[in-house]
C-alpha cells in the first residue's frame, strides 16, 4: 500500500435500470439505447482527448450508475480505446461495478475475456424487505447468484457492497446480512452507513415523516459489530467503510485516499492530476456535444495538505508522518500541534505503536468529520 505513482482511471457510466430510492449520484434511469450510443461516442472522444502516454495506468474502475448495463461490445470498445490512448501496466486492476439483475454468467465470462479482473457487486442487503426499501431491482437470491456466477466465471477478486442504518432495517436484518455475506466469502466487503441525501425519494419520505431514521446509537452499534465480525472472519478493515482479505484491497480507491493521480472520464467525472482537481462537464447534453473539463482548480499547498490529511485519515493505517514530511517538507506535528493534541487527548486520534503513523481511533472514526474539519 505504498505510493505507486501510477495513474488510475475512473470511467463513469451514468445509466441505471431504475433509480434507487437513496441515490443522488449522477445517473439516468431507463435511458434509451441511442442515448447510450451517443454517450459511448462522447466518452471515447473524452478518452482520446485525455489520453497521454507519460504515466503508467495500473487501475481502471468502471463506476456508475450501473456499468454492467452496458453491452459487452461497448465495454470492449471503451477498453480498447483506453489501451490505445494510455499505457497500461502489466499488473492491472480493472474493476466493473455490477448490479444483480443486469448481469448474467455469459456477460461475466466475457468480462474475464476482456481482462476485467475485479467485480464489485451492489448487493446492499441480503434481506428482501431492506432491498425493497432501498428501491433495488433485485432480491437477495439474485444477489447471491450473481456472486456465484462471478466466482464460476473465474473472478478471484470480488467486492460486495452493503448498506446499514437503512430506515426500517432491524438489527437482526443487518447481522444476518453480514453473516450471509461472510458465508459467501467474497474477497472484499464495503459497508456504508446510509446517508439520507436531499432530493432522493428516501429523503422526501423522511421529511414527510413517513419513515424514521435509524438512531445514532444503533447506527454505530451496527458499524462496530460489522468491524468485529469482519475481523473475526479474516477481513482487514483498511478504510472507514472498506474491508478485504489482506492483499485484496481496492488499489483504485486507495488512490483517492492517498492523494495519488487519477483521471475521471465520462459525465461529471472527477480527476486529480498533476496537482489539479477538475471535473468533466456534468450536463448530459453539453457532454455529448463537447466532453470537456467543466471546472479546473489548481491545489494550493494548503489545499493539498488538508486533502492529504482528511483523505489519508480514512485509512486504517492513517497518515505516515514521514510521507507527510516528504511531501510537504514540514513536520505534521509542527503544523497542527494544537489540533492533534486536542483530539489525542479526547481519544479521537492516536499514534500507532511504532509512532510512525497518525490515525483515527474507533471513536475518532465515528466523529471523523469533527476531527477532519479541523484540518481543512
Amino acid at each position: 500500500m505504498t505510493r505507486s505513482n501510477k495513474l488510475g482511471l475512473y470511467i463513469h457510466i451514468p445509466f441505471c435500470v431504475q433509480k434507487c430510492s437513496y441515490c443522488d449520484f449522477l445517473s439516468f434511469a431507463g435511458a434509451p439505447e441511442p442515448l447510450m450510443e451517443s454517450y459511448t461516442k462522447a466518452l471515447i472522444e473524452d478518452i482520446r482527448r485525455s489520453g497521454q502516454r507519460e504515466s503508467i495506468v495500473d487501475t481502471v474502475f468502471f463506476g456508475g450508475g450501473t456499468p454492467s448495463l452496458l453491452p459487452v461490445s461497448t465495454l470492449e470498445q471503451v477498453l480498447s480505446n483506453l489501451m490505445q490512448h494510455f499505457r497500461f501496466d502489466e499488473a492491472m486492476e480493472i474493476t466493473v461495478e455490477a448490479n444483480p439483475g443486469t448481469i448474467d454468467k455469459g456477460k461475466l465470462n466475457s468480462y474475464r475475456n476482456l481482462g476485467i479482473n475485479r467485480i464489485s457487486i451492489g448487493v446492499q442487503s441480503l434481506n428482501d424487505k431492506v432491498l425493497k426499501a432501498l428501491g433495488r431491482i433485485h432480491d437477495a437470491e439474485q444477489a447471491r447468484s450473481t456472486f456465484r456466477d462471478a466466482r464460476e466465471a473465474g473472478f478471484d477478486n470480488i467486492n460486495l457492497d452493503l448498506m446499514f442504518a437503512v430506515p426500517g432495517q432491524e438489527w437482526t436484518d443487518w447481522i444476518s446480512t453480514l453473516e450471509n455475506t461472510i458465508d459467501l466469502a467474497p474477497d472484499h466487503i464495503s459497508f456504508y452507513s446510509l446517508q439520507l441525501e436531499k432530493g432522493t425519494p428516501l429523503y422526501q419520505r423522511f421529511e414527510e415523516g413517513s419513515l424514521t431514521d435509524v438512531d445514532v446509537e444503533t447506527d454505530r452499534r451496527m458499524y462496530r459489530t460489522a468491524l468485529r465480525m469482519l475481523e473475526n472472519a479474516g477481513y482487514l478493515p483498511y478504510e472507514i467503510s472498506n474491508a478485504s482479505i489482506p492483499g485484496k484491497e481496492c488499489r483504485h480507491n486507495l488512490k483517492y485516499w492517498s492523494m495519488e493521480d487519477y483521471l475521471g472520464l465520462g459525465l461529471g467525472a472527477h480527476s486529480f492530476f498533476c496537482n489539479q482537481r477538475f471535473q468533466k462537464e456534468d450536463d448530459m447534453a453539453k457532454y455529448l456535444e463537447d466532453p470537456a473539463v467543466k471546472e479546473r482548480y489548481t491545489n494550493s499547498r494548503t489545499d493539498s495538505i488538508s486533502e492529504f490529511l482528511f483523505t489519508g485519515l480514512r485509512k486504517r493505517t492513517g497518515i505516515s508522518l514521514e510521507e507527510f514530511k516528504d511531501r510537504f517538507d514540514v513536520e505534521l506535528f509542527h503544523l497542527y500541534s494544537k489540533e492533534i493534541d486536542t483530539h489525542r487527548q479526547a481519544g479521537l486520534l492516536i499514534l500507532n505503536d511504532a509512532g510512525t503513523n497518525l490515525l483515527l481511533t474507533e471513536q475518532g472514526i465515528d466523529l471523523s468529520n469533527h476531527v477532519l474539519s479541523d484540518f481543512v
Binding site: S241, H270, N369
Partner: protein
C-alpha cells in the same frame, strides 16, 4: 404678533406606526415642491435604512415647506417629525414643545392606538391645537366615520371636519395644507426680547460638528452670536444658522417663532441636550424653558466583540454612535465568559435593538449581546444603596437587606376580543391592573402597573403575537419598589457562564430557568461528552437539561474521487466551529445569547 409670524406654522405629525405619518410627510413635501418627484424616495424623512425597514422613525427630521395658499399668501410650514416609539417619549415631548399644532393621523381601517393616544396627551399638555386627519380612505375596509367618532370619544376633540385623505394615493392633500393654515395658530414671541430657544434635537455632522434643531421663542440668532446652553452652562460661538428645506440652507437670521438649525462647533450631541434652553451669553434670559430632563437609560446590556472581532473596532463604533445619541451610554466591562466588552445603557428595548442592529449593519461588526437588565436598587444591611445594572455585580446575598426594582405604568390598547389573553399575559408578568376603560364599544385600554424587567424581555413580542398585531403599548417609569428578586445563574457542564446570569423575580425563577435551559439545549451542538445545562439560584439547581453526547459525525461515502464535496462539507463544519464561543469545555453558538431572549409562542 409680528407681521412675519402670521405666515408661519409650526407643527408635527402624530400617528401610530403604519398609520401613514411618513407617507403624509412625504406627500406634503411633494405638494409644496420642497422635493421633486425625482428626489422622492419612499418616505423621504425616514432616511435611515433601518427606520425605513421597520417603518418607524428614530431620529427626528424636520423640514421647512413653502406653501402658496389659496388666499394668495406664501406660508412657511415647519414640519417637525417625531420619533414613533415609546422609548423616545421625552424626545417626542420636546419636539411637541416646539410646535403650536399637531396633525393627528388616524388610520381609517384601525382607529386610535395606544401610542397615538399617549402622544396626543403629550400634545395637549403642551397646549397644541390638534388637527385630526383620517388616512387610508382608499382602502376597502376604511371606516372614516368610525374613526372620527373614535377620535371624538377617546380624545374629546371635534373631528367632524377632519380631512379624509389617502397619503399613499395623494388624495385630499391640498385640504390638509389649507387646514394647517386655518386650524393651527401662528407662533408668537418677541424678536427683540432676550433670546430663548429650545433644543428639540441634534445630530452630528462630519463637517459642521453638532447641528442643533431649535425653535426660537424670543429674540433672534445669527452667525457670530455667543450663546449659552442654560442647563449644561456651556458657551459657544454660532458658526451657521439655517433652515432645512429639507436639505440644510444657511440663512442670515432666525427670529422668534421660527424653526431652524444652528451650528456652533459643538463636538458631541451630549453637549447639546434635547430640552435645553439656548440664550445669549451676554444678555441671558432669567427663566429657561420648562420641561428639561436629562435622559436616563432604563435598560442595560453587555455588548462584546464576537469571536474574531476586535475590541477596538467595537469601541470605535460605540463612540461614533454616542456622538449622535445622547441617550446612549457605554462603559468598559469584563466578563469571565466573554472577555473584554462594554456595558451599554439604552432608553428601552427598541433603542437597544436599533443600536445593536446598527453596529452589525452599518459598522459590519460581529457582536454578542447579553441579557438586557434594568437598574436594580440594592439596599445593603449597612444602609448603603447600590444601583446595579449588571446581574454579575450583585453583591453576596447575605449582605443585602432587600432589592428594589423599577415599576412602570403600562397602557395597553387593544380590541376587546383579546382582553382575556392579555390580562393573563400581564398577570403572568406580575402586572397589577389599575383600571380598564372601554374607549369605544370594541376597543379597550388596560392600565397596568408592571415591573420594567417583565416588560423588557419579550413582552412586546408576546403582546403583538397574542393580539395578532392589534395591541399597542405605551409605558413610563413610575417608581422603585421592594421586590423578591433573585439572581439566576446558568451553568454549562457545571461551570458558571456569567454572561447568562439574570435577575428574576423568585416566583418566575423556575419558569425562566426552565425556558433558558430548554432554549440552550436547542442551540448548543452535541459534544463528545454530555453537556448538562443547569439554572441555579445560589447553590440550588432549579432547572436542568442535557445535551446528549454525539456518537456519529461521519460521512462514509467518498465516491468516484469526488473530494471537493467532502471538502466543502468539512469547510462548512469548520466555519460553524468558528462561530462558536468556547466556555470552559463547552462550545456555544453566538445565537444562544439572543435565543434565550426571544419570545416563544409555544412556551
Amino acid at each position: 404678533m409680528e407681521p412675519y409670524q402670521k405666515y408661519i406654522r409650526n407643527f408635527c405629525i402624530i400617528a401610530h406606526i403604519d398609520h401613514g405619518k411618513s407617507t403624509l410627510a412625504d406627500r406634503l413635501l411633494e405638494k409644496t415642491g420642497s422635493i421633486t418627484q425625482r428626489e422622492m424616495k419612499e418616505q423621504y424623512l425616514d432616511n435611515m435604512e433601518l427606520e425605513r425597514e421597520r417603518g418607524i422613525t428614530i431620529k427626528l427630521q424636520s423640514s421647512r415647506l413653502v406653501y402658496h395658499a389659496k388666499d394668495g399668501n406664501k406660508y412657511f410650514f415647519n414640519l417637525i417629525d417625531t420619533p414613533g416609539h415609546v422609548d423616545f417619549t421625552y424626545e417626542v415631548s420636546r419636539s411637541l414643545a416646539a410646535c403650536e399644532g399637531a396633525l393627528l393621523v388616524v388610520d381609517a381601517t384601525q382607529g386610535v392606538e395606544a401610542q397615538t393616544l399617549a402622544n396626543v396627551y403629550l400634545a395637549l399638555e403642551e397646549n397644541l391645537s390638534i388637527l385630526p386627519i383620517i388616512n387610508k380612505i382608499d382602502l376597502p375596509s376604511a371606516q372614516p366615520e368610525e374613526a372620527k367618532h373614535e377620535i371624538e370619544d377617546v380624545i374629546g376633540i371635534d373631528a367632524q371636519h377632519a380631512p379624509l385623505i389617502s397619503a399613499k394615493e395623494g388624495i385630499n392633500i391640498e385640504e390638509v395644507l389649507e387646514a394647517i393654515i386655518t386650524e393651527i395658530p401662528p407662533p408668537s414671541g418677541d424678536p427683540d426680547g432676550k433670546l430663548k430657544a429650545l433644543i428639540f434635537d441634534s445630530f452630528y455632522d462630519n463637517y459642521r460638528g453638532v447641528v442643533i434643531y431649535t425653535r426660537i421663542f424670543d429674540g433672534k440668532l445669527q452667525k457670530g452670536d455667543v450663546i449659552r446652553l442654560m442647563n449644561t452652562k456651556k458657551k459657544y460661538e454660532v458658526t451657521e444658522v439655517g433652515v432645512f428645506a429639507p436639505g440644510p440652507v444657511p440663512i442670515d437670521v432666525l427670529r422668534a417663532g421660527e424653526v431652524g438649525y444652528i451650528c456652533a462647533s459643538i463636538k458631541q450631541v451630549g453637549d447639546a441636550r434635547v430640552g435645553d434652553t439656548i440664550t445669549m451669553d451676554k444678555d441671558p434670559t432669567e427663566t429657561p424653558l420648562h420641561g428639561y430632563k436629562k435622559m436616563q437609560p432604563m435598560v442595560y446590556c453587555g455588548i462584546y466583540p464576537a469571536e474574531g472581532e476586535k475590541y477596538e473596532n467595537v469601541k470605535d463604533a460605540l463612540e461614533k454612535l454616542q456622538v449622535n445619541d445622547a441617550a446612549f451610554l457605554f462603559e468598559p466591562e469584563t466578563s469571565q465568559a466573554l472577555g473584554f466588552g462594554f456595558r451599554c445603557g439604552f432608553l428601552g428595548l427598541l433603542h437597544m435593538e436599533i443600536i445593536v442592529e446598527r453596529l452589525e449593519r452599518e459598522f459590519d461588526l460581529g457582536i454578542i449581546t447579553t441579557s438586557p437588565s434594568v437598574i436594580y436598587k440594592v439596599v445593603m444591611h449597612d444602609g448603603t444603596e447600590l444601583m446595579i445594572q449588571n446581574p454579575s455585580n450583585l453583591p453576596d446575598l447575605t449582605l443585602i437587606r432587600h432589592i428594589e426594582e423599577p415599576l412602570v405604568k403600562a397602557n395597553i390598547m387593544l380590541p376587546k376580543d383579546y382582553v382575556g389573553g392579555i390580562m393573563e399575559l400581564c398577570q403572568e408578568r406580575r402586572g397589577i391592573m389599575t383600571h380598564m376603560e372601554y374607549i369605544t364599544e370594541t376597543r379597550v385600554v388596560l392600565h397596568y402597573e408592571m415591573p420594567l424587567n417583565e416588560v423588557i424581555y419579550d413582552f412586546f413580542d408576546a403582546l403583538k403575537s397574542k393580539t395578532r398585531g392589534y395591541g399597542s403599548l405605551d409605558y413610563e417609569f413610575t417608581k422603585y419598589q421592594k421586590s423578591n428578586l433573585v439572581k439566576m445563574d446558568i451553568m454549562l457542564n457545571r461551570e458558571l457562564v456569567d454572561a447568562f446570569s439574570m435577575i428574576v423575580h423568585e416566583s418566575k425563577a423556575y419558569q425562566r430557568g426552565r425556558f433558558v435551559c430548554e432554549k440552550l439545549k436547542e442551540v448548543i451542538p452535541m459534544h463528545q461528552f454530555e453537556v448538562p445545562i443547569q439554572a441555579a439560584i445560589g447553590q440550588k439547581v432549579i432547572a436542568r437539561e442535557t445535551v446528549r453526547a454525539y456518537r456519529k459525525d461521519v460521512i462514509a461515502k467518498c465516491y468516484g474521487g469526488d473530494i471537493s464535496r467532502k471538502k466543502k462539507l468539512l469547510e462548512k463544519q469548520k466555519e460553524g466551529k468558528k462561530r462558536m464561543r468556547q466556555f470552559g469545555s463547552v462550545e456555544v453558538p453566538q445565537e444562544a445569547f439572543t435565543a434565550v431572549l426571544k419570545y416563544d409562542d409555544k412556551k
